[in-house]
């Protein structure tokens, strides 16, 4: 009697799963979901994607070892030049609030010239070490379907840490300081040779 009930329940569950799967497939193939970057995700999809992103980064980044000399002026300088060349068009710089990329990309890239609390893309963590690990991981690996590329090809870990170093000071820089740090000076050239 109990076994029959269990079998009937199992059958029901299986039918429900198959129907849900077929329904999902039908929705995928129907083309009804709006894929344009100018139409935001609905709340549920956004929550699902964001949760998956943050959980994935948290799991992958938590074991990364943070260098001790992240605050050094040498790292700052090297990271500044790279940030200006590779990141500023999307993640902005002091004195700039928007660009074609920030207006058109979805999700909009965070303004890294603002503090984490202001741009709301710091992963919601208060742990400073994790914030550094997270930034390193994102720069190195990128994020699928977000416009954020992986910089690992052609950029070693040290170079990525230099960018992380610069990011820590970026929100407090004035436009003048940013210009000097990211510019190409004769002294920088001498140090490179």
């Amino acid at each position: 009697m109990a076994a029959n009930k269990f079998l009937r329940c199992g059958k029901c569950l299986m039918i429900t799963a198959v129907v849900a799967m077929l329904g999902g497939l039908a929705f995928l193939y129907s083309g009804l979901y709006p894929m344009g970057a100018d139409v935001p995700h609905n709340g549920l999809t956004y929550w699902g994607l964001e949760t998956m992103r943050e959980r994935s980064i948290s799991r992958a980044a938590s074991t990364i070892e943070v260098p001790n000399d992240l605050a050094s002026s040498e790292r700052l300088l090297k990271g500044a030049a790279d940030y200006n060349a590779m990141c500023a068009s999307c993640h902005l710089k002091p004195g700039k609030n928007q660009s074609d990329f920030t207006l058109g990309l979805y999700p909009a890239p965070p303004n890294l010239a603002q503090k984490g609390d202001d741009h709301g893309h710091d992963g919601g963590h208060d742990d400073n070490t994790y914030a550094l690990q997270r930034q390193f991981w994102i720069i190195k690996h990128g994020i699928k379907a977000s416009g954020m590329p992986s910089w690992a090809p052609g950029h070693d870990d040290e170079r990525i840490w230099n960018m992380v170093s610069f990011l820590q000071r970026l929100p407090e820089l004035s436009t003048g300081q940013y210009q000097v740090l990211t510019a190409r000076s004769d002294n920088t050239k001498k140090q490179e040779h």
Binding site: A71, R169, V180, L181, A183, N187
Partner: protein, 100 residues
């Protein structure tokens, strides 16, 4: 004949690898950057500059040539802070509330 082919293949692969590596050279980015505008630094009140701050040290490095004639800074300020090899003060400022 076969060894010539292998040598040519290795030479072409090496050249392709070298060129791709050069494409990501940091100096390439630097070539596109503008020159630092150090005039603002020269007008700053040097006695109020915190030379233990890595940002200030980095700016000094960038403007070293332009600021050679700086006066009004004590001996422990301008020249030492501007030298690339000396970062004795930096360890104390590492990861101190600048993270987000």
């Amino acid at each position: 004949m076969r060894s010539k082919f292998i040598t040519m293949s290795i030479a072409i692969s090496t050249l392709a690898f070298t060129l791709s590596a050069q494409a990501h050279d940091p100096k390439e980015h630097m070539n596109n950057a503008e020159k630092p505008d150090c005039a603002a630094m020269e007008n700053m009140d040097h006695s109020k500059m915190d030379m233990s701050d890595p940002v200030m040290q980095a700016m000094m490095k960038q403007c070293m040539g332009d600021m050679e004639g700086m006066e009004g800074m004590s001996g422990s300020e301008a020249p030492q802070g501007a030298k690339p090899a000396q970062h004795g003060n930096e360890s104390s400022t590492e990861q101190t509330g600048h993270n987000h």
